[in-house]
């Protein structure tokens, strides 16, 4: 678990700092190569987006001089940036990578782009050989974690804005927005945006009504819609399922009696008023009419806030997922570390035992099956007794940070080097197959 990460992001550093360190995609491969040439670093990857620059490395002994690399490569003095850098090691680095990939560390939590950006950085680094087995399994796991967070929590669900909340509400009333007509009363920017959102979700014709006729015409032209003359407003409003109001009128335009008349003409099909005007264009009483739903700007903002609060709760759930995943990843990596060593150690000893039995076989003369069994049991017993403590120690050591030291020592003591090379090459072969 000798992972190490250093970086700056939108929370720790202003854009002036981030842009000094940012790397365009074209320079990333060469930078990755430089990174793994840096002393103490075995594997490396660089993530550079507009909100963050991070160097991730698998080091030889858990403490490589990443700041030294930054000084050399970017020709900047890290001391100037010290307060902006964050640095994580082993588990903390793993957690950070998981959080970034799952979009929990993003400016807009849950935004989906970051996953793609990490994937790209990973592919680039891998193409130049900077990412190998360890970082590979870390990143592969990170992508799986991101997927899990996305599917098990609502962190990534729907962006939050007034227009998008209006669309969600409309969908909760009408189901599909297909063929639903929209009437814009007043030609403001906000109502235009809301209309655009509704159209994107399948809404039908857009009607536009405005006191200034020309504004209505130009806005209607944008949506290929129809103009409703302002003095005909009450006669044709019932054609619309969704009414968005944003006029500067000092008094309410739509009152309860209007809404009742619309509903009667619509044979009680529901109507949705989105009132983004201040002062309001739709009287509060309209909401009391059966089948009419009125949301003013405050209601929408509250819905947005509720969404954001929901998201916070979801983010907490996501953090819990990540915590458990970090633990799982850690134990998996460690068991991966120690298991091949134990296996090759056992193989090694078994080979010796067999060879020794074969060697003395001739001198023992003919043996009956019982004696054969006894010799077998005796030799195996000796080996097991002797090996019991070392193997237990290895398993315990796997949980320590110095695991690799102990494993290396055992390998050297028993001269298991060759087999290690073998397992490594098969592992690489597996990855090759995965590709």
């Amino acid at each position: 678990m000798n992972f190490q990460l250093i970086g700056v992001n939108h929370k720790t550093a202003p854009v002036e700092v981030r842009e000094r360190l940012a790397l365009p995609e074209s320079r990333l491969p060469e930078a990755c190569k430089k990174l793994i040439e840096h002393p103490g670093i075995e594997e490396g990857m660089i993530l550079s987006t507009c909100n963050r620059v991070e160097l991730l490395a698998k080091t030889k002994n858990g403490s490589a001089d990443l700041r030294g690399f930054i000084r050399n490569y970017f020709q900047v003095d890290p001391a100037d940036f010290d307060q902006h850098f964050y640095e994580y090691r082993s588990n903390d680095a793993v957690r950070h990578v998981f959080r970034v990939t799952s979009s929990l560390d993003s400016m807009v939590v849950g935004e989906p782009q970051i996953l793609g950006q990490v994937k790209e950085a990973y592919a680039l680094a891998r193409a130049v050989g900077a990412v190998q087995s360890q970082l590979d399994s870390l990143l592969t796991r990170a992508f799986a974690v991101a997927k899990r967070v996305r599917s098990e929590t609502a962190v990534g669900s729907s962006s939050v804005s007034i227009a998008s909340v209006a669309v969600e509400l409309a969908k909760k009333i009408f189901g599909s927005l297909h063929g639903k007509h929209v009437l814009l009363v007043g030609a403001g920017k906000m109502s235009e945006l809301a209309a655009r959102h509704l159209l994107a979700h399948g809404a039908g014709t857009i009607f536009v009504s405005n006191r200034t006729y020309d504004r209505a015409v130009s806005l209607a032209a944008k949506f290929n819609g129809e103009v409703v003359p302002f003095d005909k407003l009450y006669d044709s409003s019932d054609r619309a399922d969704i009414v968005i109001t944003s006029t500067g009128a000092p008094h309410a335009i739509f009152r309860r009696e209007h809404a009742e008349r619309f509903l009667a003409r619509r044979r009680n099909r529901p109507m949705f008023f989105i009132d983004i005007a201040v002062p309001r264009d739709v009287d509060a009483d309209v909401n009391k009419v059966d089948g009419v739903f009125v949301y003013d700007i405050d209601d929408l903002q509250q819905a947005v806030a509720a969404h954001v609060a929901d998201r916070k709760k979801e983010a907490e759930r996501a953090e819990a997922i990540i915590a458990s995943e970090v633990e799982r990843f850690q134990s998996r990596l460690q068991s991966l570390d120690v298991v091949p060593t134990i296996v090759s150690l056992q193989d090694h000893l078994e080979t010796i035992r067999q060879a020794e039995i074969d060697r003395v076989r001739g001198r023992l003369g003919t043996l009956d099956p019982e004696q054969e069994l006894a010799i077998d049991a005796l030799t195996k017993g000796i080996i097991n007794k002797i090996m019991h403590t070392p193997i237990t120690t290895l398993k315990v050591a796997a949980r320590d940070p110095e695991a690799t030291t102990v494993i290396d020592l055992v390998r050297r003591l028993f001269n298991l080097q060759d087999r290690k090379g073998q397992t490594k090459s098969t592992a690489a072969g597996d990855q090759g197959a995965k590709r």
Partner: protein
């Protein structure tokens, strides 16, 4: 054996009941899926149970109260599954599952089967009568359930409680469609079922006694149903008023069912 399968089915529907109770306070997609699968399984067991009951008596008639209650539950589930197939929502289950559970539970725990005394039970017309009427009942129950869901969703939209609005209840229009369509489908079944009932009565007794409470109440229920359907169709009523209508028709249906205990010609005795 038939009873055993039915009891297994009750167990399956119990999962649906739990889903319905939990869904009142919070939504759980996993539980919804689980309830759906349990319901499928329950339907299979119930079908086996019903088939065995039919096989045991050697005729197509469902000559006991328990079997007919069980059949009603089965048809309601079939309707629910149909609605699920079209609208991909388990929300009506909040109302349907408890009803089905209760009906199946009654069917599975009753003591001795109670038999119809009418000599007409052997005719297949009776089976047609029962099947059609029950399909009508099932449609009514689903529609009533949808009306209640509509009220819940309408209320949360009016109160502007975002957390409730964005829970997994389907859109208002979808709920309305489920309710209206099941009404539409149910009506012809109810009508034909009553006609079949009249045929049974004529062949059994030679004439139809319109003064018998069962007959009177059934015709009354049919009229209420028709009025409701017409009102909904002509005025597009939905929400509160539609729920009242559905509740009224539902009550009429229950009264017509209860008439089995007063009627002289159409009753269960032990």
């Amino acid at each position: 054996m038939s009873l055993l399968w039915l009891r297994v089915a009750v167990g399956c529907y119990a999962v649906g009941l739990i889903y319905a109770l939990v869904a009142l306070s919070r939504t759980s997609e996993l539980l919804g899926r689980l309830a759906l699968h349990a319901a499928y399984l329950g339907m299979v067991f119930q079908f086996v149970s019903l088939s065995e009951a039919v096989g045991a008596s050697g005729q197509l008639t469902l000559a006991s109260v328990h079997n007919s209650v069980s059949l009603l539950a089965f048809i309601i589930m079939a309707f629910f599954m149909l609605a699920y197939g079209i609208y991909k929502t388990t929300s009506p289950g909040i109302i349907v599952f408890p009803v089905v559970f209760l009906l199946t539970f009654i069917a599975a725990t009753g003591q001795q089967p109670i038999l119809f005394t009418s000599p007409g039970v052997r005719t297949s017309w009776l089976f047609v009568h029962i099947a059609l009427i029950f399909t009508g009942y099932a449609a009514l129950i689903l529609s009533f359930g949808a009306s209640l869901l509509y009220l819940v969703q309408e209320r949360s939209l009016k109160m502007k409680k975002a957390s409730e609005i964005f829970s997994r209840l389907p859109a208002l229009e979808t709920i309305d469609e489920i309710g209206y369509r099941s009404l539409l489908i149910g009506f012809p079944f109810m009508t034909l079922g009553l006609i079949a009932g009249i045929v049974v009565a004529e062949t059994t007794y030679g004439r139809v006694n319109f003064l018998d409470p069962k007959v009177t109440l059934s015709v009354l229920m049919w009229a209420v149903y028709l009025i409701m359907l017409y009102t909904r169709w002509s005025s597009g009523w939905r929400g509160r008023r539609a729920a009242y209508l559905a509740a009224g028709t539902f009550a009429a249906a229950i009264v017509a069912w209860a008439a089995n205990y007063f009627s002289s010609i159409h009753r269960f005795v032990s």
